[in-house]
Subunit: 348 residues, 2 copies
C-alpha cells in the first residue's frame, strides 16, 4: 500500500509509577534511556522508519510533557506532539487521533501504538503492522496486533483469535472476543489452546471506519472526532475509559494480526531482568555492581556513575537516579505505586 | 596534677574496612562526619580540651594520611601529626609515643587513645583520664581505662579488675589479667561477675615507666624509643604486634580505671543503630529515607543529599557515599572486608 496514507499516533499518556525511580511524574518511563541509550519514545518513532513518513508520526501525551517530548523527538514536526489537557484514558486519545487523521486524510489509515514497549525484532514488527494496515485499507475493519504469548501472563488482556482471513502469507485472523486480565489458571488455559494472544494496545483503522464505530458504540466522543482543536474544552467533559471497553469489546468488525517480534512492555521493575543478561549468581547489573554472597538481584542506574556493592542479599531491586535510590524486594514490586504515593512531590 | 605535663597521642592507624563505604583506604573512619558533623579525629582532639594542652596533643597515623589529618586538625601544631611509614600495630605506635614524650618531657605522663570511639559523656571521660593520669604520676604503674560492659561483647578483649587502689573517690583497681576476645558463653560469665571491663586501648604512663616496661618485655622496640626521628628506618625492622601482647599481658604494675562514659567504638555498620534513633518499624535513617513494609533497616549517607526508598525489605544496611552504595544484609556485615577486597582500588 501507499505509505503516505499511513499515520501513526504514539500514545504516551502514562506516568509509569510501577517503574519509579527510573520513571517519575515529570519524566515518565518513555524518557528513560536505560534501554539502548535513547529514550523509549525516540525508539518508538525510530522503529516506524520506512513504514510511516515522519511527517505523519504524532505523539499524544500530557500537555505538560509536550516540551520534553518535542526535545526528545527533534526530527518530528513540533505540531505533531499533541498535548492532552487531562488524562482520559485511551478512548479520548483514539478519538483525538481519529479526528486528526480524518481532517488531514479522510481515507487515511491510522495506527495507535503505545510508547513504552520494547521490540526485539523490528523488521518483523514492521511487517505485521504493514499487513494489518493493508487489511484495514481493503475492508472496513479495525485491526489489532496481538502478541503471541510466551508465558501465562496475568497482567495483560487477551484476544481470542477466530477464523483466518484469506490473505496468503499474512498472520491475520478474525477476532472472536476481547477478554480482560485473567487469573493464573485461566491464563494457563489460554496459553495451552494456542488461540489467544496478548492485547498490546496496538490498533489500526481507517478514519471513517473508526468514526462509524464511535457513532455506534461511543457517541459521547464524536464531538472530539469532529473538532479535535476543541480538545482542551472537550476533554474534561469525557469519561475516563479504555478503548477496549468503549469500542473494541462491542465491535464485530475486528481482525487481529498475530505478532511474534520480541515484544516486552517491561511493565514493572522485576521485568528488567528479561532485558539484560544475568551473571552466574543470577544478578543483573545494568550499572557498575560488585557482589559477594548475593543472588538474583537487579542493579540499575540512570544519570550516575556510582558503584553498587551487594553483600549477602537476594532478590532485591536496587535502582539509582540522580535524586533517589530504591531498594525493594522483587516480591514487593507490585506495591511500588503505594510507596511512591508517600514520597514528597519532588521525588515522585 | 599539673596538666602541662600531660601528653596525648591519638592513634589513627586503622583503615576501617568494616565501615566501608563510610570509611575508605584514602579516607578512613576517623574522617567520617556522620557522627555529629565533624570528623571523628577532630572529636577525639576536642574532647581533651581542658585536660591536655593542644600543644601536647599528637596524632600518630599512616604517613599518607598526614596531610588530610593536618587539614582536619588546623588547631594542632602541624609537627604533632606524626606519620608511620608502615603499619606495625600498636606496639610500634606506643614506643614512638614513648620516645617523643621522653625527649620532650622525661617526667611527663602520656596517654594513648584510639581515634575512632564515640564518647557519650565527655566530662565523665575526662574525669576518668584525669584520675588515671594522677595515679601514674604518683606511682610507677601503667594505667588502662576499662569500659564497664553493657552487653556480652565477643569483639573486645577484657581486663579482669583486682583490688581497689586506696584513692577515695576514684575508680582505680589493680589489674588481675588481660584476656583476649572471649566466646559468647565466656563473655556472659564475665558480665555476670562484674569484675571484667572492656579493653578500649586507652593507656596512660610516665615515659620512664613505659621505657622500663619495654626494656623488660619488648627490647626490640627500645631503639625507636631512644631515636624516634629514625622511625622511617626502624619501622620496617619491627614486628607487627599489639601492645597488649608485647607489654601489657606481661606487666605486673598495671592499674585500671573503670569508666562508664557512653563509650562506643561503632566497630561495624550494624552498630550504627546504637547511635541513632529508630522509627516505630525499627528503621534507622541517618539520611532522607522513605519506607513501606520495611523493618529493621539502616540507611546512611555521606556527601549526598539523595533520598532512599525502601520497599518490602528487612534488616538491610544501605549506605551511600559520593562514589558507591552498599546494600548489605546486617547478618552478612562481618564479611564486608572480603567484599571490599574484591573492589577496584579507586572504590576501596
Amino acid at each position: 500500500m501507499n505509505t503516505t496514507h499511513l499515520h501513526a499516533f504514539i500514545l504516551a499518556g502514562g506516568r509509569g509509577e510501577r517503574f519509579w525511580p527510573l520513571s517519575t511524574y515529570a519524566r515518565p518511563k518513555q524518557f528513560t534511556t536505560l534501554f539502548g541509550g535513547t529514550p523509549l519514545i525516540a525508539q518508538a518513532v525510530a522503529r516506524l522508519q520506512g513504514l510511516v513518513p515522519e511527517a505523519n508520526i504524532a505523539v499524544i501525551t500530557s500537555a505538560d510533557l509536550v516540551p520534553a517530548t518535542r526535545e526528545a523527538l527533534p526530527n518530528l514536526p513540533p505540531e505533531n506532539i499533541v498535548g492532552e489537557p487531562i488524562g482520559r484514558d485511551t478512548t479520548a486519545a483514539v478519538a483525538l487521533a481519529c479526528g486528526l487523521t480524518r481532517r488531514r486524510d479522510p481515507k487515511g489509515v491510522a495506527m495507535i501504538l503505545p510508547a513504552d514497549p520494547l521490540i526485539g525484532n523490528v523488521p518483523a514488527f514492521r511487517r505485521v503492522l504493514a499487513d494489518a494496515a493493508d487489511a484495514v485499507s481493503r475492508e472496513p475493519a479495525i485491526a489489532t496486533v496481538g502478541i503471541a504469548p510466551t508465558f501465562p501472563a496475568t497482567g495483560y488482556g487477551y484476544i481470542e483469535c477466530g477464523a483466518p482471513i484469506d490473505a496468503p502469507g499474512t498472520p491475520l485472523r478474525r477476532v472472536r472476543r476481547f477478554v480482560e486480565k485473567p487469573d493464573l489458571e485461566t491464563a494457563k488455559r489460554y496459553l495451552e489452546t494456542g488461540a489467544f494472544v496478548w492485547n498490546a494496545g496496538i490498533f489500526l483503522w481507517r478514519a471513517d471506519v473508526m468514526e462509524a464505530a464511535f457513532r455506534a458504540h461511543a457517541p459521547a466522543w464524536l464531538p472530539l472526532i469532529k473538532r479535535p482543536d476543541d480538545a482542551p474544552a472537550l476533554y474534561p467533559t469525557l469519561p475516563k475509559l479504555s478503548i477496549d471497553y468503549a469500542v473494541m469489546e462491542k465491535s464485530d468488525n475486528l481482525i487481529v494480526a498475530r505478532g511474534d517480534f520480541g515484544w516486552d512492555d517491561v511493565g514493572s521493575l522485576p521485568a528488567l531482568a528479561r532485558q539484560f543478561p544475568a551473571d552466574a549468581q543470577g544478578n543483573v547489573a545494568i550499572a557498575p555492581a560488585y557482589a559477594l554472597d548475593a543472588t538474583g538481584n537487579i542493579v540499575a542506574a540512570e544519570g550516575t556513575p556510582r558503584a553498587t556493592a551487594l553483600l549477602g542479599v537476594s532478590d532485591l531491586i536496587v535502582i539509582h537516579t540522580a535524586k533517589a535510590t530504591l531498594v525493594a524486594a522483587k516480591s514487593a514490586a507490585q506495591n511500588l505505586k503505594a510507596l511512591v504515593a508517600t514520597l514528597p512531590p519532588d521525588l515522585r
